[in-house]
């Protein structure tokens, strides 16, 4: 097996294991990362909702916010985990694809200038 294939196998294993990043925080009753609370949580913690934060927090509605989508987390752990894995696969493919294209565009130009 080529190294590249081994590495991609590793990425695949990580994608399948990724729901651990969802289950472990839930099991250990850990909340959001520090500084990544929802406006409701801030209101509760700080006693008020900063007005600029309230205005900007809805700046962008991500299509798969929190690596999930409407309805699935409520259907139980299997669906929540499934959405997480599908999000991981989509993110991996997009990220790797875009970096590959950027890399090829950048590096191809170098060869034109005749370094080889």
């Amino acid at each position: 097996m080529t190294l590249n294939r081994k590495l991609w196998l590793g990425i695949g294993v990580l994608a399948i294991l990724s729901p651990l990043g969802l289950i472990l925080p839930e099991y250990f009753k850990a909340g959001a990362a520090w500084g990544e609370w929802s406006p409701d949580e801030i209101q509760r913690m700080a006693g008020y909702l900063p007005s600029g934060l309230a205005r900007l927090s809805a700046f962008w509605q991500a299509p798969a916010a929190d690596y999930s989508w409407a309805g699935w987390p409520e259907k139980g752990l299997l669906y929540a985990g499934g959405a997480y894995i599908l999000s991981a696969v989509a993110g991996i493919v997009l990220t790797a694809g875009i970096v590959f294209i950027i890399g090829r565009l950048l590096v191809r130009k170098t060869e034109k200038t005749g370094t080889h």
């Binding site: 990043g21 934060l53 299509p63 997009l94």
Partner: protein, 230 residues
């Protein structure tokens, strides 16, 4: 460490967005010069690794969560400028599609995780590993220490960015307009939780992958990657 929309003022977002423009330009220029065609697929795998490892949220029981980034690993393997591009793309996808990190905060998040993190980690790795033989235990440990330092430095930066907001942007009666927690809380918490917990995870992950890859000769490594032969 993905700062969401609304925690940083538009002015702060603008400053970090502008600061990243020359960084991205330099990254493109350096990568164009130093990266080889056969290394491009490895940079893509590195970016994928960074994306997925950031989904592994580690809990502090009853408290918050954090994660590794893989940014120092990419920097050690393919250079910090290449790591900057790979992590930037991962962060943009996370913000756009998954709402992990704000769109307005993308400059700040890239400054922390795609610039401060890989560069701090890379140079600490070079410093600690200087003179070590390729594949030596010291090189592997240097990779771990670099990863730990890189993540903690990025977390401290995020803490400073959070903490400056209430100081600079508040109403006449002192209510914060954006992040409500000042430097006295944000910096110790962000730096502390990464120094105590999450930094170790980044260190172990980075050291293990470096140990596994250190003997491969598939053009994965940038030239002069070993501390001593550079």
């Amino acid at each position: 460490m993905h700062i969401p929309d609304g925690y940083l003022s538009p002015a702060a977002c603008g400053v970090f967005g502008l600061a990243m423009v020359p960084v991205w330009a330099t990254a493109s220029r350096v990568v164009k010069k130093t990266l080889k065609v056969r290394q491009v697929p490895f940079l893509a795998v590195g970016a994928a690794f960074s994306f997925v490892i950031m989904m592994f949220n580690l809990p502090i029981p009853g408290g918050t969560t954090g994660h590794a980034t893989g940014g120092v690993l990419i920097a050690i393997l393919l250079g910090p400028w290449a790591a900057c591009i790979a992590v930037t793309v991962a962060l943009v996808i996370q913000a756009l599609l998954f709402g992990d990190g704000g769109i307005t905060a993308i400059g700040a998040n890239c400054f922390n995780m795609a610039f401060v993190l890989p560069f701090t980690g890379f140079y600490i790795y070079k410093l600690v590993g200087a003179g070590s033989a390729a594949g030596s235990l010291r090189q592997v440990i240097a990779a771990g220490i670099g990863a730990y330092a890189g993540l903690c430095a990025a977390a401290a930066c995020a803490g400073i960015e959070f903490g400056l907001q209430p100081l600079l942007f508040h109403t006449a009666n002192g209510q914060a307009l954006y992040c409500p927690y000042g430097l006295n809380i944000a910096v110790p918490v962000m730096a502390g939780e990464h120094l105590l917990i999450f930094g170790w995870f980044e260190a172990v992950v980075t050291a293990l992958v470096v140990k596994y890859l250190i003997h491969t000769q598939s053009g994965l490594w940038i030239e002069g990657h070993t501390g001593g032969s550079a």
